[in-house]
Symmetry: C2
Subunit: 570 residues, 2 copies
Amino acid sequence: MKILRADMARRQVAWEPVPPEYERVGGRALIVRVLLREVPPTCDPLGPANKLILAPGLLGGTTATSSGRLSAGGKSPLTGGAKEANAGGNAGADLGRLGIRGVIVEGQAAPGELYVLHIAPGRAELVPAPELRGLGTYATAEALKERWGANCTVISIGPAGERRLTAASIAVTGEGRQNSRHAARGGLGALMGSKGLKAVVLDARGSSLVPLADPELFRRAAKRFAQELIESPKTGKKGSSHLYGTAAIVAAVNELGCLPTRNFSEGRFEHAERLRGETNRELTLSRGGEMGTRCMPGCVIACSNVFVDPAGKPVVATIQYETIGLLGSNLGLGTLDEVAELNYLCNDLGLDTIEAGAALGVAAEAGLATFGDKGSFVALLDEIARGTVLGRVLGQGATVTGRVLGISRVPAVKGQAMPAYDPRALKGNGVTYAISPMGADHTAGNAFGSRGEVGPLAVEGHPALTRKLQLGGAMLDSTGLCLFSRPPLLADPQLTVDLLNGRYGWGWTVADLDQFNRQVLRDELEFNRRAGLTAADDRLPEYMMCEPLPPHNTVFDVPESELDKALAEL
Amino acid sequence: MKILRADMARRQVAWEPVPPEYERVGGRALIVRVLLREVPPTCDPLGPANKLILAPGLLGGTTATSSGRLSAGGKSPLTGGAKEANAGGNAGADLGRLGIRGVIVEGQAAPGELYVLHIAPGRAELVPAPELRGLGTYATAEALKERWGANCTVISIGPAGERRLTAASIAVTGEGRQNSRHAARGGLGALMGSKGLKAVVLDARGSSLVPLADPELFRRAAKRFAQELIESPKTGKKGSSHLYGTAAIVAAVNELGCLPTRNFSEGRFEHAERLRGETNRELTLSRGGEMGTRCMPGCVIACSNVFVDPAGKPVVATIQYETIGLLGSNLGLGTLDEVAELNYLCNDLGLDTIEAGAALGVAAEAGLATFGDKGSFVALLDEIARGTVLGRVLGQGATVTGRVLGISRVPAVKGQAMPAYDPRALKGNGVTYAISPMGADHTAGNAFGSRGEVGPLAVEGHPALTRKLQLGGAMLDSTGLCLFSRPPLLADPQLTVDLLNGRYGWGWTVADLDQFNRQVLRDELEFNRRAGLTAADDRLPEYMMCEPLPPHNTVFDVPESELDKALAEL
């Protein structure tokens, strides 16, 4: 495999053999290693010294199911710490097949210049692309596919990333209609924008299959992995993940009382019923949309969907739980059509729906929009689209929006907005939000599925659980595997070990894998420490400690000592 | 002496005897002690757990010249760390005469409520003052003097503080026309606003003189102190400080090449001649204004002035060097009339002229105003006055303005804007900006006057100098003494010791005073550490390390190791 470096200042690309220190890392693990070795931790995240890393997981490009996620990373313009965000679509698999361990984008193009990085088997070039300036991510993908072929995969930013707004995402195309996936968290779209890089086009046609060190071992493991997912009552053909997608949990989260409602002021939403996964399925199928589609080629879970409007026209693929929580209940909006419309606008601008939804909620609390009035939120997104000062404020995310508008009820940790689980009624997630090196992030270690192990309102027992979940997250994000494929992998770690040994022949043991996962977290925490983050950043916002959340009327009361203990045990 | 506590939530005041731990501290030293003992370091600076402390220095209310500065402090909404800012006017002396070691304002009034704290000898009350909402600091002072008597002293915030904008100052009245002094730095006006406290009215009439433990010792020391200032070629009647005020240094700073010009992009300004102290004196006297006025009663230096417009109408008292640098050359404005007009608007809004000037410079770089066009900056201040979103952005100071507008050339440290010495051409100030617990602050240890000891462009020799200056600053800010009175005090530390022993009978030695000063810095650094600030915050902005400043075309190249050494030796 190779490392591809793109030097934006010199407009040069260079292929490098993978150096020993990057040999046994991929995805998130590669990103933090590059950060520690190549990026000054105190650098301006939007300055020339930061680097954008795009990397497949260690299993990217293989035939293992659900293994093609693309990791994007760098020093986060939002949290100021190490950041990895990943997305489905075709990019992870393509990069794996192209034999690329990671693309490292360095330096900055001259102000006003904009480039596309085109990568095909064995060759890459930076192409000026002034004509793409200001285009949304959908139009960008269309224009680039027109130029480079419909089978290309496009990784791009929208106007939000071009303007270096710290709620900006990186979009990735996949197969099928409206398939726009986002490495959304941490403002990595702004980092890409700061480089002067509008898009990366991957043309994997003609690339060979990834080599396998032990084909037999790999195939056996991959088969067992797929089989377990197919036979699972959750991820199989009759499972809720497949039938209803990530939105399958809307009703349960609402019942639990932790569904963000009207800027995290309530934990139950009166219209949750209309936002449920079951409602989505019914509505979508009745209108000629699609359920059970794939975000990545070959995935056996197929939890995606193509949401269509009443006339059957595709709006977004896919409509996700976190988006429903942040752009729906959090804004007091109670129909999937409203959520999908805002979702489309965010996707096209290249904005994280979580960060944008939280910022809009804060803005509504400040009186700039009205909970329940979709038009008022469309108007705010239009401010972002037009690049007004208000739009620039909102586009920086919830924390800056709160600071500017004088609102202290901002649901964020380390400057990053919380996903759709209010931590006052699901305290395990509060623990992860607080201490994860990623800031408030559900993929860092979501305790929702483990509420049988540690009760949602329990104030004790969190360290062991968050550790297990965060280590699992590090493994998934470094191998390119999807969160939904977690259960069989956590139940039998040998499965991942076999996949990796089959692919690379490293002869790893389960202990080696555990050590690997642990090192990812420790390296991220070390980078954050050097970047200036401290225990003071490992806390939830003050108001969540004293303002009770209906309906349970509980505050976040996990003691700071428990948080520190959990962090020490990571 | 007493501590006066004002509990804004309960609308109660309480007099307390000074507890032992606050007995031998005043001003800045009292503030940090209260912070360490009473304020959770990670609290929301604008939340109920933060406290606003108003305190005279240890010599406040005595007859020692230049000793009546008022210290304001708390956890800074701008830097997130310990903060003390002080101002002239009558408040420091009044509080001393009222026998008050410090006023500690706690909790928060109910949203929408606004109070005045009225203090007279032996009594205090919180009075609802809804009629003052939105008033500028000049009108507030006028209204309160009308109600409580012309001899009262008014400490107040303007609309900026009411809106909790983090560039907001606290204004203090003094004798004479337009006499508005500001404890400007660190956003303490926002902290006062967050409490629901519009103003404090001090009525010291009828209060007795402060008691002296050793009247003879005190009078001898006070006399020698005054004598030395009067006989000094700098602060005496023929000295530049008296004749030209703080603006005396405009020409020298410009010659040195470190006068902030057009958002710190140049170090010399082509119209500096028109902004000089000499020009100010000539213009002011020719128009019927006043030079050589006093900011504090009884001050022998009298460096102040009343700047008048061409018709002889007072505009501001006083026009200061830092204001000329930040609202003048930094905005490309080359006349004192323009500076005075912006100065008046900032004073009335209750805005730090340094922070506001830096924010306006950043806004101009973003294209929202035009360097050299006063009207464009008046329009931006009007946005702040009207409370528009843009106004709220600018009112948060330079760092937030840069973040929102996408400008990385932001002259700030720890979120606080630099005063009027570009550190690339006066590296000693860069060292102080970087490592002072206060963030970028000239009063924390200004190396300008010591450029004979360590050359302005030297990259070595800074640790000893900044240590000496920062310890001197801690002493001045804790005793209530003015920066201009520093030379005789630093030349003979026994002088300060005699003043303190004469006042309190503590029997201190020079070593005790040195230890006291050191403790102030160490306590502030400790509070900052607990609040989450680290070595990563002890750095200048990245662009100053790589973008040369004309005319010397030098970058800030004091090695990080030297900064860390200087910090360790504080």
